[in-house]
């Protein structure tokens, strides 16, 4: 087997060279897709519980908008969708090698993401002052567990985005190697998708 | 590496959290027991209050307990087992908890009595059915039945406990750290077994025996308000002046209706 070291720098974005063809993508991307599989099951457990409890005990829930502030959260949802758009823009610009565009859009994504978490924390504080606490009943329990863990995942996403942005500023990414950006982009779109589902079934029903 | 640090931190919190609690429950922590700093604990004075708790009118019938499923306890009774809620023997009322309600100098702390208060489980009933204990004093729970009893105490201010005593002759000691008005105690294996404990900040209390008599010892001179509490018949209070080293008498009477 010829010494494969020489090829090492160019094709790091391809699946590991000199190996049996696997999933056709490089390891980190495949790893993230598989990890998102486990995240799907985690939210299935939480959302499944919510659906079962709500079907079995519908009276514990109030009509939409009575307890939860739908307008603010609608804006918040729009914000999170925008952050997915900025993430895609960041990814597109790094593919084109436009590193300043990458940095700009990454910062935008971080800012919008953290605003989303901020608004959610504000909403929590407001709800708790109004007396809507997790121990209030099934409504409170399911609401805080689902949206709380989604918020936790968004926070982890923002922290990782900050890390990716910091490495972008170090010039770590280029048109030939933007794995970090793509992987965190996958995670971010997943978290955004989960919120769209959560927003519908928690706030609008 | 980050997860490792979080894991480590969780671990230390759990370990010292665990350690700290452990010490609190079993061993009496004198410092924690005395309420306010106040004057140093004084030696026991000579005054005392004695008396009887009488019961006038016909004693209500105590409920019978169906112990047919607990042969070991059923054997200890000749007739049907009665739950002595209102224990009246020739006009005298037992199981009444008497204690000094007020009149003690404020902020005064008292030494925790060394001998434990004993609650005995005999014939699948608590003897005595109600009792008082000082915060920090040892409560000795004895099981004289060859049968499992579990002692579930559900106080609010103190730490609840739920311990079991599967064999005869087993004794377990617990302490209550903070004064509490009423600690309900029950046995889940025998649904009819109930008892109440009042945790006091001072050692001046007594429980009236079957003959209704009681003595509260070691009181310094002064006038005090003594309260007598019966689980079912309610409470009565009476103020008494205790000489420096003599005995004052205080007799309570409860009626069938009980105020």
């Amino acid at each position: 087997m010829a010494h494969a070291g020489a090829l090492h720098d160019e094709d790091v974005m391809l699946p590991p060279p000199g190996r049996e063809p696997g999933a056709g993508v490089y390891n980190e991307k495949l790893g993230m897709w598989v990890f998102l599989g486990s995240e799907v099951m985690f939210f299935t457990a939480l959302i499944g519980t919510y659906i079962i409890l709500r079907v079995a005990h519908p009276t514990a829930w109030k009509a939409p908008g009575v307890v939860l502030a739908v307008p603010i959260t609608a804006i918040n949802t729009f914000l999170l969708i925008c952050s997915s758009v900025t993430m895609v823009k960041a990814f597109a610009s790094v593919q084109d090698g436009n590193l300043s565009g990458l940095r700009k859009w990454l910062i935008a994504t971080v800012l919008i993401g953290s605003t989303f978490v901020g608004v959610q924390v504000y909403e929590y504080r407001h709800l708790i002052e109004k007396g809507f606490v997790p121990s209030e009943g099934l409504y409170g329990s399911t609401f805080y567990t689902m949206t709380g863990f989604h918020g936790f995942h968004v926070t982890i996403g923002v922290i990782c985005l900050i890390f990716v942005t910091w490495r972008a500023f170090q010039g770590r990414y280029s048109a030939k190697d933007y794995r970090g950006v793509e992987v965190i982009g996958l995670y971010w779109h997943f978290v955004d998708l989960v919120w769209i589902i959560l927003f519908t079934i928690v706030y609008l029903i | 590496m980050r997860q490792v640090l979080i894991g480590g931190m969780l671990l230390t919190v759990a370990a010292c959290g665990g350690g700290g609690e452990k010490a609190g429950s079993d061993t009496a922590t004198p410092a924690g027991a005395a309420p306010a700093a106040g004057a140093a604990p004084t030696a026991m004075a000579g005054g005392s209050v004695t008396g009887h708790v009488k019961f006038d009118g016909a004693a209500p019938a105590n409920p019978t307990i169906d112990m047919s499923e607990e042969a070991a306890c059923k054997g200890k009774y000749t007739g049907p087992a009665l739950d002595p809620v209102v224990m009246v023997t020739n006009g005298m009322l037992g199981n009444v908890v008497l204690y000094v309600k007020s009149g003690l100098p404020a902020g005064q702390t008292y030494p925790v009595p060394s001998e434990p208060v004993v609650i005995d489980q005999r014939g699948c009933l608590y003897h005595p059915r109600a009792l008082a204990i000082m915060a920090g004093q040892k409560l000795e729970i004895k099981n004289s039945d060859p049968v499992l009893h579990n002692i579930k105490a559900l106080p609010t201010k103190n730490r609840p406990f739920n311990i079991s005593q599967p064999t005869e002759g087993m004794t377990t000691t617990r302490t209550f750290t903070t004064p509490e008005d009423n600690v309900p105690v029950e046995c889940n294996v025998h649904g009819w077994m109930h008892s109440n404990i009042i945790v006091l900040p001072h050692p001046f209390f007594a429980v009236s025996g079957e003959d209704g008599s009681f003595t509260i010892k070691g009181l310094p001179a002064g006038t005090y308000e003594i309260e007598a509490r019966h689980a079912k018949l309610g409470t009565k209070t009476m103020s008494v002046t205790v000489p420096a080293d003599g005995a004052a008498t205080a007799d309570f009477t409860f009626a069938a209706t009980g105020t």
């Binding site: - | 169906d66 739950d83 739920n162």
Partner: protein
């Protein structure tokens, strides 16, 4: 160390024991077949110098045979089970003439409420007994299981009946005792430190015997 089920005293005993013995036969044969084959192969094909194993990758015909045989056997057992299961546990299979009883499971006791002379629950003459189940031989009983605290499991080995009592749910279970005698009822779901002590006696009387017991039992006022 016997493989026979202990003596039973309810109508379910016939159905459950028969299916158990059928499965015991099937699994017994399968067990002997596999273990004997295993031991025989170990002896017959043990390593001997100069000998080489047969270079053989498998045989699809065998695979299809033992897969289908296993599938058929388990499907047969499944079909036989489904009918019995529905007869025993089906929610609409409670016989109409069953005596209604409420059994309230609580940590470490069974509180049994009897309908009293008028045979109807909720009437004034109902009375409650602690940890004693008294039945009339041949009379089906429909027990409404409730629980106050943890999950308990109403289990009478002699009647081959078991049903969890779940707090927050009223679960109906019915059975019909067929022999006079004294049996035991235990809790089969871990429910706390006294789980092993949730024993109750089950006494199956003749009709007159039961009436006599119920009469003097109702007179006693039982504490809560």
């Amino acid at each position: 160390m016997s493989w026979l089920l202990p003596h039973g005293a309810s109508t379910f005993v016939g159905e459950i024991d028969w299916l158990y013995y059928l499965i015991l036969w099937i699994t017994g044969i399968a067990f002997v077949l596999v273990e004997v084959l295993l031991v025989w192969f170990m002896i017959r094909y043990r390593a001997r110098p100069g000998r080489k194993a047969t270079y053989y990758h498998g045989n699809t015909r065998f695979e299809i045979i033992w897969t289908s045989v296993t599938a058929v056997v388990v499907v047969i057992i499944g079909v036989l089970s489904a009918g019995r299961w529905n007869r025993i546990k089906g929610r609409d299979m409670v016989p109409p003439n069953a005596t209604p009883i409420v059994i309230h499971a609580k940590q470490f006791e069974w509180l049994v409420t009897y309908p009293g002379a008028d045979g109807a629950l909720g009437s004034a003459d109902d009375f409650q007994v602690r940890s004693q189940l008294h039945l009339v031989v041949g009379q089906p009983v429909s027990v409404l299981l409730t629980s106050e605290d943890a999950i308990h499991s109403f289990f009478i080995p002699a009647f081959r009946i078991k049903q969890d009592a779940v707090p927050g749910m009223n679960i109906r279970v019915w059975f019909q005792p067929t022999e006079v005698g004294e049996y035991e009822l235990g809790c089969a779901e871990l429910c706390g430190l006294g789980h092993y002590r949730m024993r109750a006696t089950v006494t199956v009387h003749s009709r007159e015997d039961f009436d006599r017991w119920a009469r003097d039992r109702a007179a006693l006022s039982v504490n809560k």
